[in-house]
């Protein structure tokens, strides 16, 4: 049996879990190819006009999945206690498959950690039984899947980039012994050239499905890495994220916003971070709240802050100009300790 997994949306956060789960159930999981023009265009045509870019991409990826027996679209309601994922995640099996309307049947399972691990396991058991697998096998697969997800998290925190982490994570459970791959990860780490002058530190925050979606974000991560020391949410310790959220009067109820906001707040207070970039997409409801809160905090702390809003019309030249301007501004700010005159002559020495 072959199950298709679209390379969009939850792929960027939870693929290791599902890869581990299906690997241990002896089911072949096929992902769609990385986003390219054709996928994006078909997605734009099929998905509802007003939905956000990532969901449109998802529609394109579902459409591009061929030669599989089923398409797997989990309903990820919640991945931890007392939080939800975006409402659009909750309706994906119905709303997106309605848009695509292919011949391949869709299978789904509801994952809701709000009700505890037992309920998640129960849902997965019912799901696995339908696929003709035994209970013991499903339980084992679930435990293994959690290990895959943890491993992936560790690799990301060690500084490994997204694609490499996924690859290493998979290898470490299938081919390589685990220790070797962790070691591999450390040698592969992105390094700052030591002979060059120190570069500004910039933190990039945003949803994983935007930050890691290289086609849609016009390879923003690598563009930034060429000029600055880049920090990503995935590389930040969970503890730092949780600590910086303690001052909130009301707890955030979205997991993704919690991560973004927590990491964002910690970057604002972090002296090695010279500026924060928020990568958002048009029409994101969650970002309208978290982006505004982070902007307020950054303004109070006088931390340079920029929002990049992606949509299907984002152009490369515009993006590059904005990044250059932002980085230039930060470099000047470092050199002149923000003692720039607000009027009159430029104090720039060079």
């Amino acid at each position: 049996m072959k199950i298709g997994f679209p390379r969009a949306l939850y792929y960027f956060d939870y693929y290791p879990f599902w890869a581990g789960f299906f690997y241990n159930l002896d089911i072949e999981l096929v992902t769609s190819e990385p986003t390219h023009r054709g996928i994006m265009e078909s997605g734009l045509k099929m998905a509802h006009d007003e939905t956000c870019l990532p969901v449109k991409l998802l529609a394109g990826h579902i459409n591009s999945l061929k030669d599989v027996d089923y398409i797997f679209l989990p309903r990820m309601v919640s991945v931890e206690e007392k939080t939800y994922l975006c409402p659009k995640f909750l309706g994906i099996p119905e709303s997106v498959s309605a848009a695509v309307d292919g011949d391949i049947p869709v299978i789904t399972v509801t994952i809701n950690w709000r009700e505890g691990q037992n309920q998640v396991l129960k849902a997965l058991e019912a799901f696995g039984l339908k696929l003709g697998k035994g209970k013991a096998m499903i339980r084992n697969a679930f435990q293994e899947a959690l290990k895959w997800q943890t491993m992936y998290g560790e690799l990301r925190r060690s500084g490994e980039d997204f694609e490499e982490s996924l690859d290493l994570c998979e290898k470490s459970f299938t081919i390589l012994p685990r220790e070797t791959s962790l070691k591999l990860a450390k040698t592969n780490q992105y390094k700052v050239c030591e002979n060059r002058e120190p570069r500004p530190g910039i933190a990039l925050v945003g949803h994983a499905y935007l930050v890691n979606e290289r086609y849609a974000n016009l390879d923003l991560v690598n563009k930034l890495r060429a000029n600055v020391d880049l920090k990503l949410i995935e590389e930040t310790e969970t503890k730092a994220v949780e600590n910086s959220l303690k001052g909130l009067r009301k707890k955030m109820f979205w997991s993704q916003a919690k991560k973004i906001l927590g990491a964002g707040y910690s970057y604002v207070d972090d002296e090695t971070v010279d500026g924060v970039i928020y990568l958002s997409c048009f029409g994101c409801g969650m970002d309208s709240v978290s982006q505004d809160m982070l902007a307020r905090r950054a303004r109070k702390a006088h931390k340079p802050y920029m929002v990049i809003t992606l949509d299907e019309h984002s152009g490369e030249a515009g993006l590059v100009t904005r990044i250059e301007a932002f980085v230039d501004m930060i470099v000047r700010r470092i050199e002149n300790e923000s003692n720039l005159s607000a009027y009159g002559k430029c104090l720039d020495n060079n």
């Binding site: 998905a47 509802h48 007003e50 409402p87 909750l90 009301k250 969650m286 982006q291 505004d292």
Partner: protein
């Protein structure tokens, strides 16, 4: 302490009653206008939804009249409305308004925490018994308002003198504002009922009874369907175009579900919606997304002529529903139109679309009645 709250259609009547009967000073913000929206839009995040911007405008206008405390409901997601109270408090603070925001929700699920907040708003001079009694009366008032609204919905397309109908509605609302007894509520509703019946009798006598009007179901996001300002007064416009409207959510239904946790049914219960939605959307998606789908199915089953969905731009649950409505349109053979509103929405644009939609429904209605079956099948063969 001077309490204020955001507008949402006729909700102000109920909240005003609630606080006044508890002897708490309350400031009703000036009715929402273009100016309100402009004020709110200026300090709102760009991609926040329309209700958020109107709310902020309401607070600013209320602050000019001396309000210092906001009472607003909350939530724990996944709709972003749950976080609005807190975000609005921060925004107002940064903009220089010294507001305290009391979010009426159990903080972290703690009921004593909620009671403490209610106590803070109600002050120490009210007993719990009195608070509960007043809340129940306010709820009954919301039922009365819903009944009046429903009568007016039916009267608009049927009565020829349109301005007189609107006057009747406004008068009924005005008298509902000051009513403080259950009997008073009943009387207002009955007088509206009587007045409409009388006018219809006169009209029938003069020009004979007209044909049945089109029936259109309005579904969508609760704020935009309850608040006439945000939806360009769509119910009135449709009424004038000769369509009888019904909507998926009535205020008392919402209060019954969320405040009384289903113990009170409300004028229109929302109970059946999740069950009806199940074949199309098997899980709740926050906000009223599932209710939108369920009520669309209900309207289709009841033989309505068309369905209009209203949502504020970027509303997450309603976008999910909007993606599913075409399936209902196909399965139940009922035209569905989706209207998105934001701060740039113009009345003329909406009016044109409504006229086109009503024309379309009327035509398909005529065709269904007049065109003989054979002709239709012949056309298909070509």
């Amino acid at each position: 302490m001077k309490v204020t709250f955001p507008h949402m259609g006729n909700v102000w009547i109920i909240i005003k009653t609630l606080f006044e009967m508890l002897n708490v000073e309350v400031i009703v913000p000036p009715l929402t206008s273009k100016k309100t929206l402009d004020l709110g839009t200026k300090i709102s995040p760009e991609s926040a939804c329309l209700p958020f911007k109107i709310n902020l405008g309401n607070y600013i206008e209320a602050a000019q009249e001396g309000a210092d405390t906001i009472a607003i409901t909350g939530g724990i997601g996944p709709c972003r409305f749950g976080y609005y109270g807190e975000l609005q408090r921060q925004i107002l603070k940064d903009a220089g308004y010294s507001y305290e925001a009391v979010i009426l929700e159990p903080p972290d699920g703690s009921i004593p925490g909620l009671l403490k907040r209610i106590r803070y708003l109600a002050g120490n001079h009210n007993s719990w018994g009195r608070i509960m009694k007043t809340i129940y009366f306010a709820y009954q008032k919301s039922v009365a308002i819903d009944r009046v609204e429903d009568l007016i919905h039916a009267a608009r397309p049927r009565l020829e003198n349109k301005p007189a109908t609107e006057l009747l509605y406004q008068k009924a609302l005005a008298s509902l504002v000051s009513v403080t007894s259950y009997r008073g509520l009943e009387e207002v509703v009955r007088s509206v009922q009587q007045e409409i019946a009388e006018r219809q009798a006169v009209q029938n006598y003069q020009s004979g009874s007209g044909s049945d009007p089109l029936r259109i179901g309005i579904v969508g996001e609760i704020y935009t369907i309850l608040d006439p300002f945000s939806s360009a007064d769509i119910e009135k416009q449709l009424g004038f175009l000769g369509a009888e409207v019904d909507r998926s959510i009535y205020l008392s239904g919402w209060v019954g579900k969320h405040v009384f946790q289903g113990l009170a049914k409300g004028y229109r219960s929302m109970k059946s919606y999740p069950r009806l939605a199940k074949p199309y959307l098997g899980h709740f998606v926050g906000g009223h997304g599932q209710e939108t789908v369920g009520s669309a199915v209900k309207f289709a089953q009841k033989g309505y002529d068309g369905i209009i969905q209203i949502l504020p731009l970027t509303c997450m649950p309603e976008i999910v529903a909007a993606g599913i409505l075409p399936r209902i349109q196909e399965a139940c053979n009922i035209p569905v139109m989706t209207l998105t509103v934001d701060e740039h929405t113009g009345n003329a644009g909406i009016q044109t679309r409504l006229e086109a939609f009503v024309d379309l429904l009327e035509r398909s209605n005529c065709l269904r009645k007049k065109v003989p079956k054979e002709l239709v099948s012949l056309e298909r063969m070509c």
